[in-house]
């Protein structure tokens, strides 16, 4: 089933308290795991997977682009950073 993936991130210039909290935790882990010691920052965003019956044709993609800008993101606080089509909903990385 074709799946349209929309990725949304908080605007780069805004404070991202969620990312900051995760970065803080990674920083603490970095004290015992040297491989993590050079993590410089974390930002947390959102990924939407929209499954489509039939084809993800141009019209559908245009409608989803519109949806991404108006509903899935709020342009005051977020940016849509990626929209792409994949064949199936995502599964775990092997």
């Amino acid at each position: 089933m074709p799946t349209i993936v929309v990725e949304v991130m908080p605007k780069a210039e805004l404070l991202d308290p969620q990312g900051k909290a995760v970065a803080g935790a990674l920083g603490r882990l970095g004290q015992t795991q040297p491989a993590l010691a050079n993590v410089a920052g974390v930002r947390v965003g959102k990924r939407f997977e929209i499954s489509i019956d039939g084809d993800a044709d141009t019209a559908t993609l245009a409608a989803v682009r519109e949806l991404a800008d108006t509903v899935l993101s709020n342009s005051v606080i977020e940016d849509v950073v990626g929209i792409h089509v994949q064949d199936e909903p995502s599964t775990a990385v092997a």
Partner: protein
């Protein structure tokens, strides 16, 4: 005067808002998010809470509710609309107010009595306050940090649309902004909760007596007075 309070799935403070309206001297009319009907009310309150569990973004899904078509239409025609907390978030998501609300800078839910300065006492909801009145009402949210682009902030400041500013910034809000209005002054959004400071015994502490603060009542009497005598 009849003031509607819209209940959304996950609204928490709709009953308190209705009670505040009655204490201020108007009739409270319960409205439902799924209807396309404002039942002829003269003003509207979008109450606080966690509509749709704050999924997607706080207030985002509620701002797409059926009744919001009528709310947006009425607001654009000049009906007084007050959005409190989650209601404020809905008004920004519905583009009735500028700016947005993001997670508090310290990443924590904040619940406390909060000092505010009323900077605009000409809006439909604040005309009963003295100029630069300092008040205390409860603040309780996790995503109350007001943000806007530099350009929008400049417009808000320049046009006197900052309705209330925090006395001591609790959450990282730009320019200490606690509430804003639209250009016309009929739509106001406020992160703190006036409806929780309307009745002695249940409000914030004051120098005189415990829990006696009723500073929030003036928001509701303001809109009633303006409707009755057109001040």
């Amino acid at each position: 005067m009849r003031i509607g309070v819209v209940t959304f799935p996950g609204s928490l403070d709709d009953r308190d808002a209705a009670r505040a309206i009655r204490l201020a001297g108007a009739d409270a009319v319960a409205l439902w998010h799924g209807d396309h009907d404002l039942h002829g009310v003269d003003a509207l309150v979008l109450p606080g809470g966690f509509s749709y569990g704050d999924y997607l973004r706080a207030g985002a899904i509620a701002s797409l509710s059926p009744i919001m078509t009528e709310v947006i239409d009425a607001a654009n025609k000049g009906m007084p609309v007050l959005g409190i907390c989650n209601g404020f978030q809905m008004l920004t998501e519905a583009h009735l107010l500028d700016g947005g609300l993001i997670r508090n800078e310290q990443g924590r839910f904040i619940c406390r009595d909060q000092g505010l300065r009323i900077e605009n006492n000409s809006s439909d909801w604040t005309n009963g306050f003295e100029a630069n009145a300092e008040i205390v009402i409860p603040l309780k949210n996790g995503e109350g940090s007001f943000i806007a682009s530099a350009e929008t902030l400049k417009a808000l400041e320049g046009e006197g649309r900052i309705v209330a500013r925090y006395l001591g910034n609790p959450n990282g809000s730009l320019n200490d902004i606690a509430g804003v209005s639209n250009t016309r002054g009929n739509v106001v959004g406020l992160m703190p909760h006036p409806e929780h400071a309307v009745e002695a015994g249940f409000g914030p502490d004051t120098a005189e007596a415990m829990a006696s603060g009723v500073d929030g009542l003036t928001f509701f009497t303001s809109v009633i007075t303006r409707a009755l005598v057109g001040v």
